[in-house]
Symmetry: C2
Subunit: 221 residues, 2 copies
C-alpha cells in the first residue's frame, strides 16, 4: 500500500458519522476477529445458538476464554443461559457453514432454536449439558467462571474455563499448537466480512539481538 496517501478521522469526525457508518468503521478497526458459535440451553434444556465475534484469550492456567456481550436482547438469550446453567460451548466456523452461522444472528423468537432455524446439528457428550455444533471442526466446552462489567458502555466480559476440547486428528503439533487453519476455521472483519487464511509462517520465540527462525509445523502422529 502507498502509505503517504492517508485518510484521517478524528474523534469529532467519527462522532458526526451516521450511526450505521460509525458502527461499521469502528467494528473494522480492532483487526481480524475470531468468530464462533456459542451453544447453550435454558433451564428447560431448550437449545440456543448464536454467533459472536468478540472472543479473547484470557490465559492458559487455568485455561480460559472470554467474550464481550453487548447489553441487548439477542446477546442476552445466550448470556442468561450461561448465567443460569453455568455451561456453554464455543464452536469454530468453517467455509462449509459460515452462511448458516451468520444466519443465527437473525432475531428469532425465544421459542425457536437457531439449531433448527439454520439447520445445524446439536451434539451432546456424556456429562456435559451444553450442545456442541456437530458441523464445527473445533469444539470447546466451557464452565462459566466470571462476569466482568465494563463501565464505559455497559458491556460485559464473560469468562469461562475450558472443560473439553475436540478437534480433528492431524491438526495438533508436537509443541501443543493446534493448526486451526488446517481445521478450516475462518476469521472475520467488521460485522459481516468472512475470510479464510493463508499461513505465512510460525516464528520462534524472540530474543534480543537474535534472528527469528521459522518454526516448521511438526504434526503429532
Amino acid at each position: 500500500m502507498e502509505t503517504e496517501k492517508i485518510e484521517h478521522y478524528t474523534l469529532a469526525d467519527i462522532m458526526h458519522l451516521e450511526k450505521r457508518k460509525k458502527v461499521n468503521m469502528i467494528n473494522s478497526l480492532s483487526g481480524f476477529r475470531s468468530v464462533a458459535l456459542i451453544g447453550s440451553t435454558d433451564e428447560d434444556k431448550k437449545t440456543n445458538l448464536a454467533i459472536f465475534n468478540s472472543f479473547v484469550h484470557i490465559g492458559s492456567a487455568p485455561p480460559c476464554i472470554g467474550f464481550i456481550s453487548r447489553p441487548d436482547i439477542e446477546d442476552r438469550h445466550t448470556v442468561s443461559n450461561i448465567l443460569r446453567t453455568g455451561y456453554y460451548t464455543i464452536n469454530h466456523i468453517s467455509e462449509e457453514m459460515y452462511l448458516q452461522s451468520h444466519q443465527t444472528s437473525a432475531r428469532y423468537p425465544k421459542d425457536i432454536s437457531e439449531f433448527d432455524a439454520v439447520n445445524l446439528s446439536p451434539e451432546f457428550i456424556s456429562g456435559f449439558q451444553a450442545p456442541f455444533v456437530r458441523e464445527s471442526t473445533i469444539q470447546i466446552g466451557l464452565h462459566f467462571r466470571e462476569q466482568v462489567p465494563i463501565k464505559i458502555n455497559g458491556t460485559i466480559l464473560i469468562v469461562g474455563e475450558i472443560q473439553h476440547i475436540r478437534f480433528p486428528i492431524g491438526c495438533l503439533c508436537e509443541d501443543g499448537f493446534v493448526d486451526i487453519e488446517k481445521a478450516g476455521s475462518l476469521t472475520c472483519s467488521g460485522l459481516d466480512s468472512y475470510h479464510s487464511t493463508r499461513r505465512i509462517q510460525r516464528l520462534s520465540y524472540a530474543k534480543p539481538y537474535e534472528a527469528l527462525k521459522n518454526v516448521p509445523l511438526d504434526y503429532k502422529v
Copy 2:
C-alpha cells in the same frame, strides 16, 4: 475435514500437559486473533513498542477497543506508560513488517526503545503524544478510559477511546466498513503463527426466514 475422527482433551488432560504445550494449545483455541503493535511513551517521552494479540472490540459509542494485559513485566512497560500518560496507539501489522513486529516481543532492557531495536519508525502527529508506527497502514490513536481487573488470573482489560484513525485512501467503503484486508493487515493464531487473509464475502444483515445476500465492496471515491 473429516469430523468423525476427533481428538478429545478434557480439563484434566490439559492440566497434565507440560506447561509450554498447554500454553500453545490454549492460545490456539480462541480462534484467529487481531495482532498489532502498541506504541507509547514514558514520562520522559522515551518511546516503547510492543506486539499484542488480545485485542477486542468493546463498542462504537463511544468508539472503544480493549486489550488483555498479562501481569508480567514485558506487558507492564506498555501498561505503565498507558496508565501514566493516558495515551497510546494501536498499529496493524502487514506482511512487510511482521518479522520486525514479532521481534518487539524480545525482552529488551527498559532503556532501549523497540522502535530502534527492530528498525521501525515512530511518527508523531500534532497534539497527540503517543507514537504511531510509520510502516503500519492502519493506525489508531487512543485515550485510556478504563482498567478492568479479571480476578481468575490477575490479567487486566485495558479499554481506550479512539481519538484518531489513519488508513490508506481507497480502503473505506460507502457504508463505513474499512477493508483491512486491502490495507494488508494480518491475523495470527496461537502466539507465533502469522496469516494473510482471503475474503470469502461480506454478508447482509440477517433476518429470520430471509436469504442472506452478498454485500459488494463499494469503495468510497
